[in-house]
Amino acid sequence: MFIRKFLTNNHLLAYVLAFAFLLVSMLAAISVGSVSVPVSDIVKIIGAHVFRLSIAEQVDSMDMNIVSQIRLPRVLLAGLVGASLAIAGAAFQGLLRNPLADPYILGVSSGASVGAVVTLFFNISIPFLGLYTLPALSIAAALLTILFVLFFARRVDRTMRVETIILTGIVFSSFLGAFISLIIALTGDQLQQIMGWLLGSVSMRGWSHIGIIVPFFILGSLLLLLNTSELNAMSFGEERAQHLGVDVEKRKLVILVAGSILTGAAVAVSGAIGFVGLVIPHLTRRLWGPDHVHLLPLSILTGAGFLMLTDLVSRTIISPRILPIGVITALIGAPIFALILMKQRKS
């Protein structure tokens, strides 16, 4: 009786599997690399940190350093970026009722990229911010972009219909994209830095960048998770949602801004990593259904696990060399997505 109830409880199973996926990805990502650390050691290290025990005698100090100072932060950052992009994508797809919507569709990522590329090109360094200049300017540019997009969308069409928003976003995206191309054409020495940044990477950010993205991740995710039932209502169309008692305009604004905060912060710390925000929500929806109450948290878990895994592949497949993570997300993600799509069609 209990077992049957458990099995029919689709959502519990979904969460268990998503959590398991995240956990396995994380352990694998921490364990495998130029130095291999057995999972038991990871548990020991984490246990030691939590219970303040000494572990010095068990683990070599350089390995320990590599894992705790270089690998752990990059794994966690990959997870946070993946989670941010995935939940933002899920929210945008629901809100804009467009399966092709992704966190980048509103030009937010282009805005963040312009902020970063300009920082690199002019070698800007704001005295108080130091190394945080780039993420700070990039988040600022992202927020500025979404404000501009919303402002223009409203000027064009007072009710801010979904089509208007998408169109405005695309216009801004193209414009900002051209601006980035212009800087690339003009740059000399910084070309490699700019390119590396545009291809996306979670390498060498360290704990500081986790500190940058965490508050935005929490804020953005909370805002979205508080609006899941409104997202459900709006996915039937804005008029229906209005009839169901949803303050459509206000909610739309909240969701757009929250999604942009998440995207802007993710792009600011890791560059433009494509694909995750588009495909992870789709995948999650295909597997567990379109109810945003569950879709959003499940996207967080799946997105985080997925990006940890792709980062693992990017730094181990031709170790000790590194491949750009954005290349791997698409190379791994697209076939998986195609496979699931085909399976779904058959059944």
């Binding site: 690399g33 130029s34 130095v35 100090s61 350089m62 350093n65 590599i66 705790s68 100072q69 270089i70 690998r71 932060p73 980048y104 990522s109 282009s110 990229s113 070698n123 360094s125 994209g177 191309s181 690339i184 000399g188 020495d189 910084q190 070309l191 490699q192 830095q193 390119m195 590396g196 545009l198 291809l199 990477s201 390498s203 060498m204 950010r205 360290g206 704990w207 433009a272 494509g274 730094r315 170790s319 000790p320 060399r321 590194i322 750009p324 954005g326 290349v327």
Partner: protein, 328 residues
């Protein structure tokens, strides 16, 4: 954002262009013929023309007389030409040129994208191209050839010995062969002196060096078959990344594991205080180079351009790697 990949290609080409490190260099290793220095140079040079030569991309051409207006499409060609005493003859240089100072007064003819119109308007009789970027600008070069101008593609040197050949090639086509021989024998002497000085370093004292040619987070380094590797061999030091071939992006974890004795950055001309950046990196503090603060910046131009300044570059590297031998 979708154009990113094609830009990545461009990036690779720039790397090749800036460092002179493409992939198709001819394998010929001929020794320079010794020339009799007592004969009147001018006469010897005059009589060398018309000269029929084949360049690195197998284009045959006949250069009718000693070129008087030369356009150089890559910094290393320019440096060699100036060293050959062709400062007056050079009328155009690439956007990347910065040495010697006199290039500031020369017309700029483009960088990755050549401005053919400017080149033609300079009415050169010889254009010195380079194999590392020639395939990228083949159409532009063909347009120049079609205008009846000789385009000589200098081969893409990866080793010091090949850099000698670059000097000799340019010397030959510009009728300054004797001067080229002088430069090459000078370089040889300087390298020999460096070898001599570092010869006594025992295997225990031999230091491993990691080259960082781009700043964090994308750490590119120079593996084997690069000038960096070659220069390290000259001064009897190890390249920490010798397992790699060419220019590669390295996993920071792996660099920590390589644990080099010295880290040399080459991007100090556009990044503030690279050494300080390296020293405070998370998780790097146990590396020998970081612990002993053996992190230095060497100007990339003198260690990556196949030209007369390579020996100077080797000396700069030697000074920071073995200060006890070179500090006097």
């Amino acid at each position: 954002m979708k154009k990113v990949l094609s830009f990545f290609l461009l990036l690779m080409l720039t790397l090749g262009l800036l460092a002179g490190c493409g992939s198709d260099s001819p394998e010929s290793e001929k020794e320079p013929e010794s020339t009799d220095e007592s004969t009147g140079q001018t006469e010897a040079e005059e009589s060398a023309f018309p000269l029929t030569v084949t360049d690195a991309l197998d284009h045959d051409m006949t250069i009718d007389e000693k070129p008087e207006r030369i356009v150089s499409l890559i910094p290393s060609n320019t440096e060699i030409a100036f060293a050959l005493g062709l400062g007056e003859e050079i009328v155009g240089v690439s956007d990347h040129d910065n040495y010697p100072e006199a290039v500031e007064k020369k017309e700029r003819v483009g960088g990755l994208e050549l401005n053919v119109e400017v080149i033609l308007s300079l009415e050169p009789d010889l254009v010195l191209a380079h194999a590392s970027s020639a395939h990228n600008s083949e159409k532009a070069l063909q347009q120049i050839r079609d205008a009846g101008i000789d385009v000589y593609v200098v081969h893409d040197a990866q080793q010091i010995t090949e850099a000698y050949e670059s000097v000799e090639q340019i010397g030959q086509v510009t009728g300054t062969q004797d001067k080229a021989e002088d430069i090459v024998s000078n370089m040889k002497e300087e390298f020999a002196a460096l070898r001599e000085k570092t010869k006594a370093i025992s295997d225990d004292e031999r230091k491993s060096v990691f080259f960082e040619v781009s700043p964090a987070p994308e750490l590119f380094t120079a593996g084997k078959n690069t000038f960096f590797d070659d220069l390290l061999q000259v001064i009897n030091a190890d390249n920490a990344a010798k397992e790699q071939d060419g220019w590669v992006q390295m996993d920071p974890e792996a660099i920590v594991q390589l644990n080099p004795d010295v880290i040399i950055t080459t991007y100090g001309d556009y990044e503030d205080d690279p050494a300080a950046q390296v020293l405070k990196r998370d998780g790097w503090k146990d590396m020998t180079a970081v612990e002993k603060e053996q992190v230095y910046d060497v100007p990339s131009d003198i260690v990556s351009r196949p030209g007369p300044r390579l020996a100077e570059g080797a000396k700069e590297i030697a000074k920071v790697v073995y200060p006890e031998i070179f500090d006097e």
